[in-house]
């Protein structure tokens, strides 16, 4: 028996959502869903694991903060053998601790910069979104106004086809 991939195409995200719930409750595995915009509650309905992006954000933020402290310490406090300590605004310039209030904006911005940029890069890598990457979506209409459900079936496809039609798919395509 060949492995067949079935593409069910939907017009409406509400119909798609209820269809996903229905099909999953019949113990059919949905491989992937493609949609032109994020559908609220779809990740939950598909049973996708909770994202770990928050943890990476925390780690990247810590990296940014550490980088910021090192940077500011080198530039403003130590220099090479304290050759050029900065004395701005009449502040004491002997320790990081004494000058800390002045550095808080810098540290904050670097934390946010690192967390934001590295998170975006992580997201692009995980989704395979980078220049030169081949098209992933099986149907270009999913970038416009259609929703596509991808199901891989071993063997009899009629049951899945019937389920898809019943739950509101407007179009069903097959790929051997």
């Amino acid at each position: 028996m060949n492995k067949t991939t079935i593409y069910g195409i939907f017009d409406d995200e509400e119909v798609l959502l209820s269809s996903v719930k229905e099909i999953r409750s019949n113990e059919i595995h949905i491989k992937e869903v493609y949609s032109p915009f994020p559908v609220h509650g779809l990740d939950h309905a598909l049973g996708i694991k909770e994202t770990r992006m928050a943890i990476t954000a925390f780690i990247y933020g810590c990296i940014g903060l550490t980088f910021g402290i090192a940077l500011i310490y080198y530039i403003m406090i130590s220099g090479i053998y304290k050759s050029w300590p900065m004395n701005i605004g009449g502040k004491p310039n002997w320790t990081l601790y004494h000058n800390l209030p002045a550095f808080v904006p810098v540290l904050f911005e670097l934390t946010v910069l690192f967390a934001g940029h590295l998170m975006s890069i992580t997201f692009f890598i995980r989704c395979g979104l980078f220049p030169g990457n081949p098209e992933v979506s099986p149907d270009p209409r999913t970038t416009d106004d259609k929703f596509l459900m991808e199901i891989e079936v071993d063997g009899d496809i009629s049951k899945v086809k019937k389920m898809l039609t019943k739950t509101g798919a407007t179009e069903i395509n097959l790929k051997e």
Partner: protein, 415 residues
Amino acid sequence: MFTIDNKAKKFTFILMAIGLVSLIFGFVTDYLHYQEDPKYHFTTWPAILFNTYFYLGIALFAVFFVALQYVAEAGWSIVLKRVPEAIMGALPAFSIIMLIIAVTAILHLWGNHIYHWLADGITDPKNVKGAEGAKYPYYDEIIAGKEAYLNAPFFIIRTIIYLIGWIYFAKKLRSLSILEDKLGGTSIHSKAVRSSAWFMVFFAVTGSMAAWDWIMSIDTHWFSTLFGWYVFAEWCAIGFTTVYLVTLYLKNKGYLEHVNNSHIHDLGKFIFAFSLVWTYMWFSQFMLIWYAHIPEEVAYYVDRIDVKNYRFLFWFSMSINFLFPIILLMSRDAKRNHKRLVFVSAVILIGHWLNSYLLVTPGTLKTHGHIGFTEIGIGLGFAGLLIYLTLNSLTKQPLEPKNHPFLDESKHLHT
């Protein structure tokens, strides 16, 4: 319909009794001290002022909350809309207390010398040290320069305008909400949107000005252009906390059946966000003054940091107001966890109460202020008053608006 049970009634009455006792206690001890030493400053008035600032802020924030929902056409909050509407019910009472403070300050009645710039002869150029008939406090050039704004008649007129304006809008929004229950349709909603927009304009100006007049003018020589926002952020933080706590109380009593975890999550987000906004304002004000190091600006922080009585509280209140929300309320689950939210709410209410104390006391009592029976007692008494008035106005109307256009959206809120 909500009814106050005996336990809650007893609790609030006990709180109010504590408040009354400590008020009398405060005035009697102040008077006895004053008999011994005519230069003695009454400590009860600053205690009343900072507590009024705190609780009036909560009641005023409730009006802002309701107006904000209308202006933003927000749907999520409708099922708990009657909670801030009820908190608005405490506005007139605290306005009267504020008015009493302002009037007695102007007339120097009962030892009320909170506002230094109101002292007799302080703007009179002839009243200098050593001159004939001169008496303390002497002529102060800086205060004299601010006389066009900081003078007794204008001060009382402004205070009355703020208070009457706020109460007017509170009553208007409340009555429109009740009328909507009876009539239905969308015409009342658009009327309420219009009133809310006007309130926003009015509040944007008067909220800041009230902060300058009542709080910032205590340290007359000092000024901060950020001060209005700082006070606004504080009112928002404590206001959202109060809305949350009242909602939770009603929910635990079995009311507000449509309030689900998503509503609590949204309130948690606001508590988190405005705690951080407050810290942002606090730090923005502090950092610039610290960095520039200009004597006339730094004096404000010197009065707080270099005085033994306040140093600990100054850093302590700021730290708990920042660290507890940011550490404990960061994650999504934490904002849906009642135990944690209640804990953080309690912490930041105490933290902001201490911060209110620090806004008023160092400027009025200089190095002699301390938190004692009077301060805490009046705080508890006012809390009792606020809770009682809130619960009392909750009993007047059904706890859920009937015909609000966004009611259905709010019932199905899911985040």
